[in-house]
Symmetry: C2
Subunit: 213 residues, 2 copies
């Protein structure tokens, strides 16, 4: 049983799991079979106690006095995160960012399959990007269904994002990964994660503000 033992998992814990996963796969590729929370923590920049606590909320994966078996833990976290299956994703909006995302190879290694690309611009529709042809947004609903797409990636301008989200939801998408700098509202049973690039750069500016002339 890989679900939580008691009640729900903290958001902070879930956010750290992908970091553990990525680093453990790297450690596995280096040939190590065992890793301690101490060493894993040093590489990620998280305390060993934090790692042990996070992992313990899903089960007892380690061996006392020994550490964690790397390959085993990779498998366990993979299952916890739902990365042991294939997800079909569609990107809506093939501008600069959508194009970059469409070409991002790391996603495939996590089990995300780029199943469709959509754009409004007739000059872009029909192009082949990373082996996937760009469709007209008019075909959104039928394609979501026919290609069994579970996740929609919104890479359109802010003003169009909510309308695109509404169509994605109506078409049966279960999750949305939003890159438009606006708040998107979706029903409770649809998951949404937003990336806001201006936040990171602005907080950097905040911290630099005092120290840089």
């Amino acid at each position: 049983m890989l679900n939580s033992k008691h009640g729900s998992i903290s958001r902070a814990t879930v956010d750290r799991l992908p970091l553990y996963f990525r680093t453990l796969r790297l450690i596995r590729s280096e040939g190590s079979e065992i890793v301690s929370s101490e060493e894993l923590g040093r590489r990620i920049g998280v305390t060993p106690e934090q790692i042990r606590k996070d992992l313990a909320s899903f089960g007892a994966f380690g061996k006392k006095g020994v550490g964690y078996h790397v390959a085993e833990l990779v498998n366990n976290i993979s299952q916890i995160l739902g990365l042991d299956r294939k997800w079909n994703i569609a990107i809506i909006g093939v501008g600069h960012l959508g194009w970059a995302l469409a070409n991002y190879r790391n996603f495939a290694s996590l089990g995300f399959h780029l199943a469709a690309l959509f754009d409004q611009n007739p000059a872009i529709v029909g192009q082949l990007i990373n082996g996937v042809d760009v469709l007209s947004v008019a075909d959104l609903e039928t394609t979501i269904t026919s290609r069994n797409i579970q996740i929609g990636v919104i890479a359109v301008p802010a003003g169009e994002a909510q309308a695109v989200a509404d169509r994605l939801v109506a078409a049966g998408v279960h999750g949305i990964w939003n890159f438009a700098p606006v708040r998107i509202r979706v029903p409770d049973d649809v998951q949404i994660v937003s990336e806001d690039l201006s936040v990171g750069l602005s907080t950097l500016s905040y911290h630099l503000r005092r120290q840089v002339p």
Copy 2:
């Protein structure tokens, strides 16, 4: 005096300020002169109490019984975030992502000026992107100095990221915005903000895991 009143500001507060800033500029462009924490909160998806508390840690910007003067608050937050000045940034690595970032127009409206682009690949060096020519990474140090670059954006593969960061720091950069999926170590007086795209997608997968067949 726009600094904190007592001691340091919570990280969570600083992370929300860019959202307030963005939304307030939008409200200003719509013509509203006054906004309440109630309405601002509704648009952003944050409680009014949270907004008042966040703002109050920098000063008393509102009028009791009235609300906040939009244009005034925009100016105040702009100063708090250090967005009332120009920052020169350089992007290192003009792959898919670096190229997309180089073309991202939103940054300019926040006061970030794309001052240089660097790549290793001779086929890319010399190209003009968004009005900026791509230089060889061999020219990194001299250009950082001559163009007065304060912020470096790392968009190179994970394996090269730390080396690039070290060179940026040695060249005198004060802040790093890192897109490579690795932990980057920098001296204490250098600020670093990392964006990790695989985290968002993986947490989406986590939440979808149970509900999607």
